[in-house]
Symmetry: C2
């Protein structure tokens, strides 16, 4: 299943798909050289837990390809997703000994790992890395705060619509959005993972997706392929403050 994972591993940073969005985005050729000394690639197959909360961490790194999630659980098993990691997202916290969250591969994942101690040393001397990491962390904090509004105050239907809007927005940017307002994408998560993202049960997720389909807000082919005929309609359903959506 992972037999061709090494095809996805860039030979050098110039060829790296996340070169200009990851922690290393601001680094110059010489700094990349240094990073190269302390990095290595790892591949994980879908479903595998890369890191358990509480584990000792000896690396930090970037997601190169695939999707992973950060989760927390209570003793009785209730699970909440607290981060969704896409290519270029950063994993781990410089200066921290132990992992604070579980990291689980949603799809097959390739990571570019940096040995932790050398990376921390390098951060001290190379402002470019810390600067970029600050930007990325601030973005994540903003995302976390949107997410808190969703978890604390939205109805199940609004939660689903919001989640679809997030995915749709992302794909609209990448795919240069199809004709007038029509947006198409695949759900990267199972119903259960969506439930953990949204603070719902998988049954409620399923029901609300069915309801949005019934009400023509979305169309579904199979269980994962979504078409949004009218994106503004979807945004209304998401209940967000009308304007706020597009501020980058």
């Amino acid at each position: 299943m992972l037999k061709d994972a090494h095809d996805l591993i860039p030979r050098e940073c110039d060829a790296c798909p996340i070169r200009h969005r990851a922690v290393c985005a601001r680094c110059d050729a010489q700094e990349l050289e240094q990073l190269d000394q302390i990095k290595y690639y790892r591949s994980f197959e879908a479903g595998r837990t890369l890191i358990w909360a509480g584990d000792r961490m000896d690396f930090v790194g970037s997601v190169v390809s695939g999707i992973a999630m950060l989760t927390q659980t209570l003793e009785d098993g209730r699970t909440q997703m607290v981060g969704l990691l896409l290519p270029s997202d950063f994993v781990g916290r410089p200066g921290r000994e132990k992992a604070a969250y579980n990291v689980v591969a949603v799809s097959d994942v390739v990571m570019c790992c940096f040995r932790k101690q050398p990376f921390e040393n390098m951060m001290e001397k190379t402002p470019h890395i810390g600067q970029r990491l600050l930007e990325m962390t601030l973005d994540e904090l903003d995302a976390a705060r949107e997410w808190m509004l969703l978890l604390g105050r939205k109805t199940a239907r609004e939660k689903i619509a919001s989640f679809l809007a997030i995915l749709g927005r992302r794909n609209a940017v990448l795919n240069m959005s199809k004709a007038a307002g029509q947006v198409v994408f695949d759900l990267p998560l199972t119903r259960e993972a969506m439930a953990d993202y949204l603070g719902l049960t998988l049954e409620t997720v399923s029901r609300q997706i069915s309801a949005l389909k019934r009400d023509q807000v979305i169309h579904l082919e199979g269980k994962r392929h979504v078409t949004v005929p009218d994106f503004d309609r979807l945004l209304e359903e998401a209940g967000d403050d009308s304007d706020g959506g597009m501020l980058a």
Copy 2:
């Protein structure tokens, strides 16, 4: 009411109560000098909204004294708190034009404001500021993720207990915790603000506090003064993973 606010404004950074925890924590004397050129103090009375989401921001800054909250709202008025700002916490985002959240003074607040443009320029040249801001932002992100678990997966009782535990832990650190496990503090928020923090209604907050009192998990004098006779008991009620609590 604010007549003596200027008494709370430090004359110089050395005398500043948040000198060693705020963004400026790592700055040396010369850097403080520079910051001094671009800073000014502002006072706000309890209840005032310091900043409206969408407002143009021409400063960033630190809370010197008092408590403020970040909130987001949906059009129909549902409100979620997304940040609780204590002395030394940072307000605003370098590089961002417009405020993303409302900032509301919970108590009287004094802020140390930096003019935004000069502050950003200084960040470019002074790694100490960016480094400290990164640390603080990472801490906030961790807090946000704990908060997401609370919002998404905890029951009303667990939410209240968790919130009390957070307050109690903070005060235990400051006040060198009273005799054996006993913790005492005042609630800084109204029932309504607590509800906005926890994603509940104020009625539910009130009922659950009453329930915890009835069950002897806490004692109340008046409506705000809380005594926790057995802190471990409170942590159990909070439902957290047993160990996780004390990792700083």
